[in-house]
């Protein structure tokens, strides 16, 4: 494929999987590495904000770290009449109130920062303060590429605000590769909603198949384009191949189970940097996805 034809195309690709540990990060880091020669304006975004570890694979320096905050209410008990309207408005049970005892408390971990309680209060007793929910860390690799990391603060309930904030650092990039959190609930959705194309990574086992089906069903409701990479091919059984065929889903690649790959990865190496076959596989795969699903930037 001629790379020149692709210079005017932009794309955001999310690497995701229902089941954890199928090889998302291996593939995201390897694909990001494999395209660096031809696509200088690329960024890797680690959206697995509960357990972000993509950056561990690169020699990279932290350039800046930005706090991500959420609003939480502060109740002035001198002004509060304990009417309970804020409690009624709260859809998250984050306000605890016992009117006869004049007790009212905000359970900050449950608060989503929607602001409904402030609107509800007729006595001007609620103000808001910022609460840290995580950070967006911007790294620069030795090769000069940006790696963005969404990192939820430990103890916070949801990584969603941090993931949303991380997306804002990808504007002006031609290529965005996102390492998605596992599962199919809100953290996954907030990641893939930004993607032009989703690569689902799975393994040929009954667990892998069951979780793949759930991911596919979710992406269908979102009208996303997607394809599947089977990792650790050769282990397990053949049912996953039958499923892909019957659903007419693109099988993008099979990565054979290989102890050498497992050891490389476990030591924190980018597999594509040490294995030319993998590097070429991902460079070619990326270019074919960009050609088919990329957006024209002109």
């Amino acid at each position: 494929m001629e790379v020149e034809k692709l210079v005017n195309k932009t794309i955001k690709i999310a690497i995701a999987s229902g089941k954890g540990g199928t090889g998302k990060t291996l593939i995201a880091t390897s694909m990001f590495y494999a395209i660096q020669e031809n696509f200088k304006n690329s960024v890797l975004v680690d959206c697995d904000a509960e357990e972000p570890n993509s950056v561990l694979f690169f020699k990279a320096n932290l350039q800046r770290s930005v706090e991500v905050v959420q609003k939480v209410p502060v109740i002035d008990t001198d002004k509060c009449t304990f009417c309970g309207k804020c409690h009624d408005y709260c859809a998250y049970n984050a306000i605890f109130i016992i009117p006869p005892s004049r007790i009212i408390k905000v359970i900050e971990e449950l608060c989503h920062g929607c602001g409904a309680c402030s609107v509800a209060c007729e006595y001007d007793a609620i103000t808001e303060k910022d609460m840290e929910v995580g950070r967006v860390n911007v790294f620069v690799s030795n090769e000069g590429f940006n790696i963005i990391e969404a990192r939820m603060k430990n103890g916070v309930m949801t990584p969603v605000p941090v993931i949303k904030a991380a997306h804002k650092y990808t504007v002006d990039k031609q290529v965005v590769i996102m390492d998605s959190p596992p599962g199919t609930s809100c953290p996954f959705i907030q990641t893939v909603v930004e993607a032009d194309y989703v690569i689902l990574v799975t393994e040929p086992t009954p667990f892998g198949l069951s979780d793949l089906k759930q991911s596919v069903n979710t992406l269908k409701t979102m009208n996303k384009n997607y394809g599947v990479i089977i990792n650790r091919a050769g282990l397990g059984d053949k049912k996953i191949f039958d499923y892909l065929k019957s659903e007419d889903i693109d099988l993008l690649a099979e990565i054979p189970f290989d102890k050498e790959i497992a050891v490389l990865y476990s030591n924190g190496n980018i597999v594509a940097a040490h294995n030319d076959k993998i590097k070429i596989l991902f460079a070619n795969l990326f270019e074919s996805i960009l050609e088919r699903y990329g957006n024209s930037s002109n």
Binding site: G18, K19, G20, G21, T22, T25, E50, E51, N53, L56, F57, K71, Y89, A91, Y92, H112, G113, C114, G115, A116, V119, A120, M152, N154, G155, V156, M157, T158, P159, P181, P182, G183, T184, S185, C186, P187, F188, I189, Q190, V193, T205, P206, F207, S210, D211, Q214, N217, T218, K220, T221, M222, L235, G236, K259, A262, V263, Y265, S266, N267, G268
Partner: protein
Amino acid sequence: MEIAVISGKGGTGKSSVTAAFTSLLKNVVLVDCDVDAANLYILFEPEIDEKTSFVGAQKAEIDYNNCTNCGICMDYCRFDAIKIENGKIAINEIFCDGCQLCSRICPEKAITMINNDESLLLSGNFRYGKMVYGRLAPGEENSGKLVNIVREKARKIAEQNNSKVILIDGPPGIGCPVISTVTGVDHVVVVTEPSLSGMHDLIRTVEMTENFNLKTWVIINKFDLNREMSEKIFEFCNLKSIQILAKLPYHEQVVEAMVNCKSISEWEPDSDFTKIFEDAIDKVINS
């Protein structure tokens, strides 16, 4: 006694470990709290006798007969879920958090909240006792709430059946579904693997269990794949005074067992590998 098996990083072998423990225990209540990727039902094929749908988050919906396009809802929404599309106010279901504020402040009462009740709570008998699990509808939020409902049901069943042990298979990560999974349990078993990412995620997971003052054990799976990294994990656990519950070697039969819908302790009941699980579960139960 409630025992939760978790792991920060996914795919370290949580469910295989839980399955091995399950078939070594008798009269257990097995709970799958990985509600957006529940897997244990595949191995244990429970006969479902109760199925309840669960109301997850609500979503806002606009009645265009009453909407005047005033845009007040847009000003109040903090989730960027309301935008003007083709000259009309439109709600983005994916971004809507279900806070209800738009429906409360709309001067025309043109916004209503719609229940999403496709998520399921399932329970029934299986070959080692009772099983309870949740299944989140595709793209549904509020997995923490579903985990709470699943655990409540499990406690009720345990009481009715005089089951001494509730064994919970948890989701990956350290966010709300995990916190809901471990809150109030007697033991947490963290399954990890000897890799740089496994180590990183273990540290974050232990930080979380420490915050909640939970009795924590660690199992290192495939410890022989990278002995140097395993050593580092031992050192970390030592420093934190966390007991290593088991060291599992890489074992090809684990995948074979899964493909045949058996736990490893059913697949090879007399093997040395199964013996490791027997010792481990005894240690937890008798501690």
